[in-house]
C-alpha cells in the first residue's frame, strides 16, 4: 500500500475554484433535520443560516425550518450567549419544537465561545418555560471539514444528549443504525426495508426518511414532521447491536458503544453486490434467520443488470468528486464494472480512501475535477449539481450524486444502496453511457492496423 503522501494530492492553492465542499454547520443542521419535531438553530450571523437554508430548500423542495441567533457587530464583540438565549425562547414560543438542534459557526468559534456550557445553562435556567423542549449542541466551526464532518459531530452530540447509559438489558430484535450524511431519505428507506425483512426493528439516527421524504402532512407544521423521536433515542441503549454506516460515523459509533455497551459494527459501504452481501450476512447473523426470498430475488436482478450493463462500463474513464464516504461507497461500482477512476477529487484526506482503486486522490475542488477530466479524457463527470458548469464547458455528461442536486426533482429519493439501489444505479449509468455513446464512422478505422479506434465495440449490445 502507498503512503498517504503519495496517494493524496493536496491542492495547495490559495484560491479554491468552484468549491466541492460545503460547510460543517450545514451538515450538522441537516442531521438535526432527521429528528422529529426539530428546529435547527445556527449560532452565527443571518447569512450562515440563509445560505444553508436556500441550498436545502432547492435540493429537497421542502420547507426547511432553520433559525439563526442573528449575531451582529456588537454581540460579536460582547459575546453571543444572550442571542442564543433569546433565540431559544423565541423559537419555543413560536414553534414549540421538541428539540432545538444548535450548531456553532466560524464566527462564534473564532470568538471562542463556550456555547456548550451556555446551552446547558440556558436549559437549566429556563427549565420551566422550555418545558419538554430539549436543547442539543454541536460545535461545528466552518473552517474545519465539510458536510459529513458536521453531520458526524451533530450525531455524536445527539447520542451524548439523548441516549441513556447502558443498563445491561438487551432487546434482541432491535438494532441501531447510525445513518451517514451521504444517505438520502430514499437510501434510509431502502435500508430500513432490508433490515425489517429479517424481522428486526431498526432505530435509525438521524432519520431523514421520516422528515425530508416529501410527504404531505395535511396540516401546517413549523418544525420537522417525522424523523427519529426522543423516545426512540431513549431506547437505543438496549439494542442488540449498532450498524454505523460510513467511516464518518465511526466516532459516533464508538461513542455509542462506550456509552451503552451495545457493540457497533462498521459498514463502510452499501452499494455494490459484495457490499450488500456483507450487510445481508450481518443481518442474517444478528437475526438468526435465513435470507428472505425477496432479497434473494433482488440480488439475482442486480446480477442480471450487471451482466447487461457491463458492456457499457468497460474502458470508460470517470471523473468523480464527492465527500470521502460517498466517494468510497460509489467508487467501487465503477472500477468493479470495468471503468477507470481517472480523476478523483474529495474534500478531506480520509485515510480509508488509500484503498480506493485509483492512481491518486486530489483533495480539492470542482476546478480540479474539470482540469483532471480534460487532461485524462474522461467520459463522464460524477458529482453534485455544481458540476453542471464543468459539464457544459467540457461537453461531458454529468451524473448527479449526493448533495446538493438543486436542478433535479426527486433528489430526496435517489437511492444508491441495497440490491435495488445498486441495480438502478448500474442501469442509470449504463443508460447515460448509451445516450452519449460514440457512433462509428469510417474515420474510426482510418489508421486500421494500429490497434486504435475500437470505440464502437460495445454498440452491438446496446440493441
Amino acid at each position: 500500500m502507498q503512503k498517504p503522501s503519495e496517494k493524496f494530492v493536496i491542492a495547495r492553492k490559495s484560491a479554491s475554484t468552484n468549491p466541492l465542499k460545503m460547510s460543517p454547520p450545514l451538515g450538522a443542521a441537516m442531521a438535526y433535520l432527521g429528528l422529529d419535531g426539530c428546529l435547527p438553530l445556527f449560532h452565527g450571523s443571518q447569512g450562515c443560516t440563509a445560505f444553508a437554508l436556500v441550498l436545502l430548500v432547492r435540493h429537497f423542495k421542502e420547507a426547511i425550518p432553520f433559525q439563526t441567533t442573528a449575531m451582529n457587530e456588537v454581540t460579536t464583540i460582547l459575546g453571543g450567549m444572550d442571542n442564543v438565549e433569546q433565540a431559544v425562547l423565541n423559537i419555543h414560543k413560536r414553534a414549540r419544537p421538541k428539540v432545538i438542534g444548535i450548531c456553532s459557526t466560524g464566527l462564534t468559534e473564532t470568538r471562542g465561545e463556550d456555547t456548550f456550557a451556555d446551552v446547558r445553562t440556558i436549559q437549566a435556567k429556563h427549565a420551566e418555560a422550555l418545558g419538554d423542549t430539549q436543547l442539543v449542541f454541536a460545535a461545528t466551526p466552518d473552517f474545519a471539514g465539510g458536510v459529513q464532518e458536521g453531520w458526524g459531530k451533530a450525531v455524536s452530540a445527539m447520542i451524548d444528549r439523548f441516549v441513556p447509559a447502558g443498563d445491561g438489558t438487551r432487546t434482541l430484535r432491535q438494532i441501531n443504525v447510525l445513518a451517514g450524511a451521504h444517505m438520502s431519505p430514499g437510501d434510509v428507506d431502502e435500508l430500513r426495508e432490508i433490515i425489517e425483512a429479517f424481522g428486526l426493528e431498526p432505530i435509525i439516527l438521524p432519520d431523514l426518511s421520516g422528515s425530508l421524504d416529501g410527504h404531505v402532512p395535511g396540516r401546517h407544521v413549523g418544525t420537522t414532521y417525522g424523523g427519529t423521536t426522543i423516545a426512540d433515542m431513549g431506547r437505543m441503549h438496549r439494542s442488540a447491536c449498532t450498524l454505523a454506516i460510513g467511516e464518518h460515523m465511526r466516532i459516533s459509533g464508538e461513542r455509542l458503544e462506550a456509552r451503552t455497551g451495545v457493540p457497533t459494527r462498521f459498514i463502510d459501504g452499501l452499494t455494490g453486490l459484495e457490499a450488500v452481501d456483507r450487510l445481508v450476512v450481518t443481518l442474517a447473523e444478528i437475526s438468526g434467520k435465513p435470507v428472505p426470498k425477496r432479497l434473494r430475488r433482488q440480488r439475482s436482478q442486480l446480477v442480471d443488470s450487471m451482466l447487461d450493463g457491463h458492456f457499457h462500463f468497460g474502458g470508460k474513464r470517470i471523473a468523480i468528486a464527492a465527500e470521502p464516504d460517498l466517494l468510497w461507497a460509489l467508487g467501487p461500482i465503477f472500477t468493479g464494472m470495468g471503468a477507470e477512476l481517472s480523476t478523483v477529487v474529495t474534500t478531506m484526506p480520509a485515510p480509508h480512501l488509500e484503498a480506493l482503486d485509483c492512481a491518486k486522490v486530489i483533495v480539492g475542488d470542482l476546478g480540479d475535477l474539470e482540469t483532471g477530466a480534460a487532461e485524462t479524457g474522461a467520459d463522464l463527470l460524477v458529482t453534485h449539481s455544481h458540476g453542471r458548469q464543468a459539464s457544459e464547458r467540457l461537453g461531458l455528461p454529468l451524473f448527479r450524486v449526493g448533495f446538493p442536486q438543486f436542478d433535479r426533482i426527486g433528489a430526496a429519493h435517489q437511492t444508491l444502496l441495497g440490491y435495488r439501489g445498486t441495480r438502478a444505479l448500474v442501469c442509470d449509468l449504463a443508460n447515460t453511457f448509451i445516450d452519449h455513446a460514440h457512433h462509428a464512422s469510417p474515420a474510426d478505422w482510418a489508421g486500421a492496423g494500429s490497434g486504435e479506434g475500437s470505440h464502437g465495440g460495445s454498440q452491438a449490445a446496446a440493441g
Binding site: 468549491p19 443571518q46 440563509a50 423559537i91 473552517f143 455544481h386
Partner: protein
Amino acid sequence: MLKQKVQELFNEPGCVTNQGKSDAERKKGCSIKGLTPGAAAGGCAYDGALIALQPITDVVHLVHGPIACAGNAWDNRHAASSGSELYRMGFTTDMSELDVIHGGEKKLWKAIKDVIADRNPPAVFVYQTCVPALIGDDVEKVCEVATEKLGVPVIPVNAPGFVGSKNLGNKLGGEALLDHVIGTMEPDDAGPTDVNIIGEYNLSGELWQVKPLFEKLGIRLRACITGDARYRDVATAHRARVNMMVCSQAMINVGRKMQERWGIPFFEGSFYGIEDTSDVLRTMSRLLVDQGADPGLIDRAEALIAEEEENAWAAIRAYKPRLEGRKVLLYTGGHKSWSVVSALQEVGMEVVRTSVRKATDNDKARALDLMEGEESALVGAIPAPEMYRMLEEGEADIMLSGGRTQFVALKARRPWLDINQERHYAYAGYVGMVELVRQLDKAVNNPMWATIQKDAPWDADGNLLTTAGGEG
C-alpha cells in the same frame, strides 16, 4: 471606517423610509426587526453585497472566508448573462483553522494573484466575511497593494455578514462601486440619450424584456448596475445623462451620490406592471430632454406607450375566460403589489388579500383604491398557519408569493406562483405582465389539482371507505 460607512447609510437622505424616522430610530439602522434572534429571516450583509455585485459578468468574484460563505452560496441565482460566464464560478480562499490562527492576508494576496494569472479578468471583487473581519484581516489594504502591483483593479467589498441585513449589504455593495469603480474609466462613445439602470439584476433575463423598448426610442443603456454588466460599463457609468433606480431601497445611495458627484438626475421606477413601465418610459424621456436630448423623444415615447399598452392589455384580456372569478392571495413585500392587482383584475380575478408589509403610504393608497376601499383586504404579515387555512378552506384559489412561503401553499395542495426575485420566469415590462398572467393560467388550471385534492379511498387506519372515492 466600516462603521462610519454603515452609519452614513442609515442616514441616507434619499431613502423614503429613513425620512419618516426620528434621529434615534435612524441610528438603529434598517430592518432592526429582521435581526431578532430566533425570529429572523433572510440573508446577511455579505449576501446582500453579493446579490448586488455578482451580476457583473466578466470579473472574478473572490470570497475571503471559510467555506460556508462561498461553498454554500455559489452559482445560486438566476442573474443572466449575454456574454461572459466568469461571474458564475465560485472563488474562495476557503480559510482553514491555520489561516484563522495565522491570519488570512497572505493567502488572500496569493489568491488574487492566482485568479488574475489564471483568468485574466478586467477586475477582481474581493468580499470580506465575518471570520477574517473578526481576526483583523485588512482586506482593503491587500486590495490596494494588489491593484498597484498587479495592474488590475482589485475592489474590496467590505460587508461582513454580522454588520447587518441583506438590504444593508446591497447598499455596501453600491458603496464599493462608488468608491472604486464608477468614474474610473472614460467612455469613447458618450451620447445624449445614455442612461443607467441601477438596482436591476437581470434575474431570469428581465432586463432583456425591457431593453428593446429603450432601443425603439433610441435610448442607449450605458450601464445596468449590475444586471448583465461588464466591468467597463459600470466604470464608465458616470457619463450617462439620467439614472433610473429600480427597487430603490436597495441602491438608493448609488443614485443619490452619482447626482452629487456628476450631476446626473435620477428617478425611481419599476418595470413591474404595465402602468409602471409606461411611467418609466415617460419620466426617462422627459429627463433626457431636460438634459438636452431631442424634444421629439417625448412624443415618440407616448406613441410607443400607447401601442405597447394596447397590445399588452389585449393579450391579457384573452385569458379572462380561463381566470375570471378565481380568488388570489397576494403575498409580497407589498411595494408595487397594486401593479399586479390591476393586471389580475383585468382578467376578472378577485384579490382576497394583499400584504402591504413593506409598502410606502403611496403604495398603500393605490392598492386600497384598487380594492375599492376594502381595508380588510390590505394586511401586514400573515402567519403561515393562517395562510395554510385560507388556502385549504378555499378562501383563495392560488397564492402568489416568494419562495419562503411556497410550501405552505403546496402542502395545502393549492396552486402557487413565484413572484419573488428567485423566480425562474421573467415578469418585467409589458411582455412580462402578459407572461405573469400566462403562468397564472398554467398554475391554476393545471388538471393535476383535481386529482391530488381527492383524498385516498381509505380512512386514517387504512380501512376502505364504503363510498367509492371518498370525500374530496
